[in-house]
Symmetry: C2
Subunit: 143 residues, 2 copies
DNA sequence: TGATTTTAATTAATATATTAATTACTAATA
DNA sequence: TATTAGTAATTAATATATTAATTAAAATCA
C-alpha cells in the first residue's frame, strides 16, 4: 500500500468496485443498467423534470444522458416532451410501464442500501458520510 | 437531499465528480487520460508487470486495459512483451519516453493529493479513510 | 500420456464518459 | 428591433466500462 493506493481517488474507485456489483445484480434482474436505474430513481420523485436537472441529479453528464434516455424510451419506460414555456427544454416523463417498475425495484435496492450501511459500525458510517460531505463542500465546485 | 442522494454510491460518485477535474487538468497537460496515468503510475514502481496485475492495481478491468495499453504503446510510452516462463502472460514495460514522464507528472499530482488532503480537517480525513477501509473489508469481495 | 480444467489475454457487442462543437431557442442590450 | 450573448439539448469523436465469449497456453489428473 503506497501513496497511490491510499490516494482518495483510488480509495473511492476501489470502494465503488467493491460495493456496486451487488446493486448491479439487482438492476440486471429488471434489464436496467446502473445509469438507467438512476434516471428512473429521480423520475419516480420528479416526473417530467428537464434533462439538465436529471443530469445533475443522477451524476450523468448531458451528453451521456442523451443516450441513456434514448435507450429508456426505446424500451418504453420514458418519453421525451418539449416544454411549452421554453422550447429549448426537453422534459422527461415516465410511461405507465416506467412508473410500474418502481414498487418492484426500489424495495430491493433500499434493502441493499440498508445492508451496506449495517456492514460497518454506526460511528464509522457517520464519520464516512461526514468526511465525504467535507470533501464535497471544501473543493472549489462550480455550482 | 433524500434517501437516494445520501446513498453511499451517489455520495462516492459525487465526491469523485468534485475531486477529479483538478487531476484531469494535470493529466491533460501531458496528453494523458486518467486511466493512462494510472497505468504509468503503477509501472513506474513495478516496471514489466503482467497485464492482470496491472488491472488489479489500477482498478481498470482486463478488457478496458487492453485498449488503454494499445493507445499507450501507440503513443510510444509502453511496450508489450510475452513472458518467457509463461507464454500466456503479457508483461508491460516502460519505454524511455514513458520513464521520463515520471519526474514531470508525479510532483504535480502529489501536490494535488496534498492540497486535497489539507482541504478538510485532519480528523475528518482520517475518519474518511477509516470508513472507506471498513466498507471495503466488510463487503464480500472476491479477492 | 491424453483428456480435462484453469488461467491470461483478447475480442465482441453494447452502453457510458469526456470534451468540443453545433443547433435551436431565449434573454439581454444597445 | 436588430444584434449579441447565453442556455438546453444534441452531435461528433475518441476513450472506457461491462459482460460474455473466444483463443492459446498452462496445470491437473485419470
Amino acid at each position: 500500500m503506497n501513496q497511490f493506493d491510499r490516494s482518495l481517488p483510488m480509495m473511492l474507485y476501489r470502494t465503488l468496485d467493491v460495493v456496486m456489483p451487488e446493486f448491479r445484480a439487482i438492476f440486471k434482474r429488471f434489464r436496467l443498467t446502473e445509469q438507467q436505474w438512476r434516471v428512473l430513481r429521480v423520475l419516480w420523485e420528479r416526473d417530467g423534470c428537464a434533462l439538465l436537472e436529471l443530469a445533475e441529479a443522477t451524476c450523468v453528464s448531458g451528453p451521456s444522458l442523451v443516450g441513456v434516455i434514448d435507450r429508456l424510451s426505446r424500451d418504453g419506460l420514458v418519453r421525451r416532451r418539449r416544454s411549452d414555456t421554453d422550447r429549448r427544454v426537453v422534459r422527461i416523463s415516465l410511461t405507465r410501464k416506467g412508473r410500474q417498475l418502481e414498487k418492484r425495484v426500489v424495495p430491493l435496492v433500499d434493502e441493499a442500501y440498508r445492508r451496506l450501511e449495517r456492514s460497518i459500525s454506526r460511528p464509522d458510517w457517520l464519520a464516512l458520510m461526514k468526511g465525504l460531505d467535507a470533501v464535497m463542500t471544501a473543493s472549489p465546485q462550480e455550482q
